[in-house]
Amino acid sequence: MATWQLEREARDARVQAGSAVAKGKIVEARDATRLLEAIVRPGDRVCLEGDNQKQADLLSAALLSVDVAKVNNLHMVQSGVVLPEHLDVFERGVAKKLDFAYSGPQSARIATMLFGGKIELGAVHTYLELFARYFIDLTPNVALVAAVSADRDGNLYTGPNTEDTPTVVEATAFKDGVVVAQVNQIVDKVPRVDIPADRVHFIVEADKRFFVEPLFTRDPAAITEGQILTAMLAIKGIYGPYGVQRLNHGIGFSTAAIELLLPTYGEKLGLKGKVATHFALNPHPALIPAIESGWVKQIHSFGSEVGMENYIRARSDIYFTGADGSLRSNRAYCQTAGLYACDMFIGSTLQIDLQGNSSTVTTSRIAGFGGAPNMGADARGRRHPSEPWLKAGQEADPDGHVLLRRGRKLVVQIGETFGDKNVPLFVEKLDALELAEKLNLDLAPVMIYGDDVTHIVTEEGIANLLLCRSSDEREQAIRGIAGYTDVGRGRDLGQVQRLRERGVIRRPEDLGINPLDADRSILAARSIKDIVHWSGGLYEPPSKFRNW
């Protein structure tokens, strides 16, 4: 007779084995490795919660210490490869294969290990794509997640950094997997229930709070005049003319400059209330002056940001908060919001080629993509109109039937022509291609494809790729704003001049931007301390950003 509940039986057997080291659902921190040896089987798909910010650090250390004879060849399916332990498990042979989305701080080491054959790479994903695969072909057998507190039944409170937890738990718990949560504290009653108890099998009380990285704090003191100039170009040349109200910002200094210019330069241009009112965005401290000046109506967040807790609590009109008053973030929902309900993504990158393809992968660094490919892509399933979306669609296809023409999401890449250590932003050939050839990948790791990019902004000007009618025009439009990089100096002067006459390229002087305004005095806050003042003392920056 056929058996249809093998997976459930296997799950029950794992939970039973784990119960030997637990009291109810509760496992002592020192027994965490024994728990994992009991519930994880060789070759399992394991999601070790490494989010963009929040890290299940105790559980990753516990997994690293397992007896490799019992637990080995795991297939790690996790959005963030952030902690050294996330890669140490591959060095030790605990894990073999990796599917991920983001690897910020481990980007150099992950590249070395891929070249050294220590890791078998599945694919580099965008967040939403990896989450989607959790429900189709990368469903975890075991999920190791992090929360702020749990009650004795196993209800979890994630605090402001809910991030990926609901998605990971949903995919695991409802498909016969085992869910283990590390918590900072076990309490009688959790402040709010982010994950219901019947989806959680084991709880480990950590001896120290889980690690959270402040990824979205940009010190205004480090913003350059070149970045201020590019920010002014973006506001006057894109935000204003398209009337972009619903948007997502990347995490770089150029977009931080935009946030700090809204209440000053944006105000002067009369754009308040007309642009930048609704965001899919982490709680960026740099947006505080704009919020306090009444620019921003609503923000939904992927995760939280260290130090922003009290400010968010006090500004619940702006942020999404729970019954306990603290932020509720959710990466999957916010990525969906960015894809379908935002009219613009604007962010930086490391390399842009002659057709506008961009990548953060270089031959020595595989940083992953995070959310950028999703935020920075046109949603082909979108059906609701909006002014910026229709205007962009009209520019791309002026002769199309008005009622049948698709709109276009504005996908803007912003940066200075020379980046860190004078490395040029523009290249003839992406390093990602070289990497794909070396590693024999089926697909080069491109972050945003050129056909999704609508504008590129540098200190030299704006290239509007929607108005380009051939790949040759596209190339010259890009060269025409690539400054004194080799790509920029290889421009065809006559063609660039014609593109400028058509408004495909617009220089600061074409937009009436006075270079004297590109001065740090125009920033609404010039230091972290200024931001603290704007927040009325509610924002509490992490110590590494305190220099007063």
């Binding site: 350059t224 020379f418 200190e459 004297l516 590109a518």
Partner: protein
């Protein structure tokens, strides 16, 4: 250290009446520009003193574009460069010519 000067013809005299102005700071990756209205009004002179050697071709390109875009006739620019990126140099030169238009 490398010193050189570039002389260009300008289409028209620079705007404003100010005699002299200074923008920027001497610092690593930055530069200071002293601008004076002391050369014939259809000419422009740029004197460069830089800590970064071997970038003559880029300086030529940056200064030629600047003269083409801003037509700073009658102005002499003395640059004290701490290895600034070309985009920073362009911005400072543009700021200098605009500052000469501002009443004191």
């Amino acid at each position: 250290m490398e010193d050189f000067s570039l002389r260009h013809d300008a289409r028209q005299p620079a705007g404003g009446a100010r005699k002299m102005a200074i923008v920027g700071v001497v610092a690593s990756g930055n530069l200071e520009v002293l601008v004076e209205r002391v050369v014939p009004e259809r000419e422009c002179l740029v004197e460069i003193r830089t800590t970064a050697e071997g970038f003559g071709a880029v300086w030529n390109a940056v200064v030629a574009d600047f003269v083409d875009r801003y037509s700073p006739g009658g102005l002499k620019f003395s640059i004290n460069d701490g290895g600034a990126r070309p985009d920073t140099v362009s911005l400072r030169l543009a700021q200098a010519v605009r500052l000469m238009e501002v009443e004191q």
